[in-house]
């Protein structure tokens, strides 16, 4: 089921001050996809999720899930969360400590007053789906973090909602478990035809899990697209900086031709992939991700985007070496293969692939 959000506004009052959590949010969340709201803490992503599920009431606007209006300020409609028939996984999992695994998962079915047999069949089936078969009688709080997370998922899925919402569900797990659980979650969700709305501040989670990502900042959605688009093609400085590691330099467009823009920057001229809005004379920023900075082994390589710099630092982090290189007065992050034989103080030649140098506005 798709979710349509129109002109949503929400203010909070905290210690006498008005804080805008959602500022004119318009959003179409496509059906049966994994959709992620990504942004730093306090950007409004959790507020938006809670408005969708009905735990918060927006001040203005309209929310439509499928073809049902669940909130509309104009039409004076507010459907309470228990009537919206959604599933949700909370950051804390919200596993009820006084119930065992079976009762936790059975709860949504019991609220719908389903016959006992059907409840137990569906719970068994759902627990098998999340690989917790046989855990029915365990006290839910005695499970490990990852298992509790799956109980919360089972509980959100058991009543077969058309939409499931996740509020930073992996943030309480340790790094290794988080990675495993993320992969699991992806495979669980891809086997169901369900719309998933996922809130996170972790860009790796957002990129690896989602079909579609919306980046939020100060209560607004500032960019939306596939993970690939967001990572490579964003034209916004905030997005490029927030997602992945990025070297961002200020510059001015000198000329534009045949899809390439030539930009004057502190380290010299850089050739970038052009954009429609790029016109000569405009002040912009250039984004070069460390993974696209190549070390040239042959001395004195010529051509576009070749620079010479001094290695300022180099750290071996296992699968790669991360370093800083100084070109003129600008330090850039770069990375090389772990076996590359360079050391601090070396002068090296670098090249940036123009296809992966992007222009950023504002």
């Amino acid at each position: 089921m798709e979710i349509r959000i129109r002109n949503l506004n929400k203010d909070f009052f905290s210690e006498g001050k008005r804080i805008t959590a959602l500022d004119q949010v318009n959003l179409d969340i496509p059906a049966n996809r994994i959709f992620t709201l990504l942004g730093p803490s306090g950007c409004g992503k959790t507020s938006l999720l809670r408005c969708i599920v009905g735990l918060e009431t927006p001040d203005k606007g309209e929310i439509v899930i499928g073809d049902e209006i669940v909130f509309s300020q104009e039409k004076n409609i507010y459907l309470p969360p228990e009537k919206r028939r959604l599933g949700m996984v909370f950051q804390t999992y919200a596993i009820w400590p006084h119930m065992n695994v079976f009762d936790n998962v059975a709860y949504p079915l019991q609220t719908r007053k389903l016959p006992k047999k059907e409840v137990s069949d569906k719970v068994t089936e759902t627990l098998r789906f999340v690989q917790l078969a046989g855990f029915e009688k365990r006290p839910a709080t005695k499970l490990s973090g990852g298992q509790q997370q799956r109980v919360a998922l089972a509980r959100a899925l058991v009543a077969e909602p058309k939409v499931i919402l996740f509020d930073e569900p992996l943030s309480n797990l340790d790094a290794k478990l988080r990675e495993e659980t993320r992969k699991e979650l992806r495979s669980f969700l891809s086997r169901l035809s369900i719309t998933a709305v996922y809130v996170t501040h972790d860009q790796i989670e957002a990129l690896s899990l989602s079909d579609m990502v919306a980046v939020m900042r100060n209560g607004r959605i500032i960019e939306m697209g596939t993970p690939w688009d967001i990572y490579f093609n964003s034209d916004q400085r905030f997005v490029a900086d927030f997602i992945g590691r990025a070297n961002i330099m200020d510059g001015k467009i000198r000329s534009v031709e045949k899809g390439w823009a030539v930009i004057e920057s502190a380290i010299g001229t850089i050739v970038c992939q052009s954009r429609d809005e790029a016109v000569p004379g405009k002040s912009v920023s250039v984004c070069i991700r460390p993974e696209f900075i190549k070390l040239l082994t042959e001395a004195g390589g010529e051509g576009r985007n070749v620079f010479r710099g001094k290695v300022e630092s180099l750290v071996f982090v296992g699968d790669i070496q991360e370093g800083e290189v100084r070109i003129k007065d600008t330090s850039l992050s770069f990375q090389v293969e772990p076996t590359t034989k360079i050391k601090e103080g070396d002068l090296i030649n670098l090249s940036f692939d123009p296809a992966h140098c992007s222009i950023l506005f504002n």
């Binding site: 735990l55 309470p80 228990e82 804390t92 919200a94 509980r155």
Partner: protein, 559 residues
């Protein structure tokens, strides 16, 4: 949501305000009048009379020695026990849990009586034994002294002090000590320079609370202090209102004002210290195992001390009382004593209408009082934890205030109030007084229960399709039950054994168990006292077990 809660907060402030402020105001006003009959005529006579009393100096001196002595002894013992439990490899650690809980169920008046039975100079059992064995002419021990009072009071306050110090010791980050050791300090130096200073807020909090407790204590001063003419402030007030020809409530109020002032000051100090303590507690997030000190050869001797303390605190009082209830007069256990045993005292108690009335009254006060008190506490705790406005903060302070009320003093405040109402000399006067004085004991477990109910637990139920009422029934109430049960048990057992407030408010027809026990002690009817005492312990235990069973059942039937 906020809108619907505002009236609730205000209603609660009015109720709790009445319960806690009203007796204080009445005490204050009463202290400036001639007596109960002459309310409203301002006079300073009672202050002049009570504070120019030549004996007051020695009474205050006694009070200071008694309260500080017992508080220090209780805290030192508690530190010793807490250290053994949290930091050493002493065997049978489960004993410490029992040691810190069970003594609270033994009514203080009975605990004090059992010591009097053992160590009183005329026929205390231990004294008799020594006289028999060694052929002494005089009793070697006399409990009816200031030292005796300090010993018994300290043993009674020990569990409370332990419950403050032990958590602080186990939350203590051992790496602080380890770094001191790495810096080259010895075990002893580390203890003195690092461990003790960091635990200081907890230790001072335990001492402060123990002083407040012993200042309010009436059982030990009356049962052990009065026979030896060692008066402290609480028994001084008692003497003013309960002995002699005309009870002087004006003078009692005038003396009470300074006890109340001291007590409230100490409680503020305690609150400051506990909030200070939180700053020091460095709980690391990752699970760490504190290094356990190997006691080696001292292991079993140390355990012997703990076992002895448990015996003295739990087993001895009950055994002594039971034994005394069966023998015709005080005698050392012997073949002769066993042959003389009978149920004579038990039968006398059962046939005594006043004892039976007191039993009935106390049972009613325990059950009805705790139930009403807990109902009130549920609402108060809800407002304090979940509403969180300025008004709810005020309510929190109000409901905490009675924590500092010495029973006998606040009883006099209530006396001034009830005399002008039809409640005077009814059981309802006692009920209201009990709830007012012991309200924090109900609010505390319920506040922590509400804190545990994270808002996500309720929200998740809403998303799962449970409406507000359904969520209340299946999520909120079941999660509250443990708090309700422990709060109810705490209040019910305190009400069944309540003494200090009751000695003021209890009138013919509203006798309660502890007061009746005190009467028996004053008359030297030790056998009947013990029989009634065992019944009292039995009732408390039965209430605890019933409440736990009902709680367990309610938790299971929540579907």
């Amino acid at each position: 949501m906020q809108k619907t809660n505002r009236p609730l907060t205000h209603v609660l402030i009015v109720i709790v305000g009445f319960l806690t402020i009203c007796p204080v105001i009445m005490l204050f006003l009463g202290s400036f009048t001639e007596g109960l009959g002459a309310f409203g005529d301002f006079t300073l006579k009672k202050y002049i009379k009570s504070y120019s009393d030549p004996f007051l100096g020695s009474i205050v001196a006694n009070t200071v020695i008694f309260t500080s002595g017992s508080a220090l002894l209780a805290t030192v013992l508690a530190m010793f026990l807490a250290y053994l439990n949290t930091r050493t490899n002493i065997p049978f650690k489960s004993l410490f849990g029992i040691l810190s809980i069970i003594p609270m169920m033994i009514p203080h008046v009975l605990f004090a009586v059992s010591w009097a039975l053992l160590l009183n100079p005329s026929n205390g059992m231990i004294n008799l034994l020594f006289k028999q064995l060694l052929g002494l002419a005089e009793s070697p021990f006399n409990i009816y002294t200031l030292q005796g009072m300090i010993l018994v009071e300290a043993l009674m306050d020990l569990p409370m002090a332990y419950l403050i110090i032990a958590p602080a010791m186990s939350a203590f980050d051992v790496s602080l000590e380890e770094s001191s050791r790495v810096c080259g300090a010895s075990n002893l130096r580390t203890a003195l320079r690092v461990t003790l200073p960091i635990l200081r807020p907890a230790i001072l909090a335990a001492i402060t609370l123990a002083i407040v407790r012993s200042l309010a204590s009436f059982a030990v001063p009356s049962v052990i202090g009065m026979p030896g003419r060692n008066y402290v402030l609480s028994t001084h007030i008692y003497r003013v209102i309960a002995t002699g020809f005309a009870p002087d409530y004006g003078m009692a109020a005038a003396v009470g004002m300074s006890i109340l002032a001291a007590s409230i000051t100490l409680i503020f100090l305690y609150r400051y210290l506990t909030s200070e303590g939180e700053k020091y507690v460095t709980v690391s997030s990752r699970g760490y195992r504190p290094t356990v000190i190997d006691l080696k050869k001292a292991k079993y001797p140390m355990f012997g001390i703990v076992a002895l303390l448990s015996f003295v605190l739990i087993v001895l009082p009950i055994v002594v009382l039971f034994y005394t209830s069966l023998v015709p007069y005080s005698m050392v256990p012997s073949a002769k004593a066993f042959s003389l045993m009978s149920w004579k005292h038990w039968i006398a108690v059962i046939k005594d209408p006043i004892s039976m009335l007191s039993l009935k009254n106390s049972l009613f006060l325990g059950v009805a009082g705790a139930t009403l008190g807990i109902l009130l506490s549920i609402f108060i705790a809800y407002v304090i934890v979940k509403v969180r406005t300025t008004a709810s903060g005020f309510l929190e302070s109000l409901s905490f205030l009675s924590f500092s009320f010495p029973g006998i003093v606040i009883g006099i405040g209530f006396m001034w109030f009830f005399v002008y109402t039809p409640l005077y000399a009814t059981i309802w006067a006692l009920l209201i007084g009990y709830i007012a004085t012991y309200l924090p004991y109900g609010v505390r477990p319920l506040s922590s229960a509400f804190i545990q109910i994270h808002s996500h637990l309720e929200e998740s139920s809403r998303v799962c399709g449970g409406g507000a009422l359904y969520t209340m029934r299946r999520i909120v109430i079941p999660l509250l039950i443990p708090g309700v049960v422990s709060g109810w048990i705490m209040m019910a057992t305190m009400f069944v054994r309540e003494l200090s407030l009751s000695v003021v408010l209890s009138r013919p027809g509203t006798e309660v168990l502890a007061v009746q026990i005190l009467r028996f002690a004053e008359d030297g009817l030790w056998g009947r006292l013990s029989a009634l005492g065992i019944m009292m312990i039995f009732i408390s235990t039965a209430l605890v077990i019933t409440a736990s069973l009902i709680g367990a059942k309610l938790k299971r039937v929540n579907k």
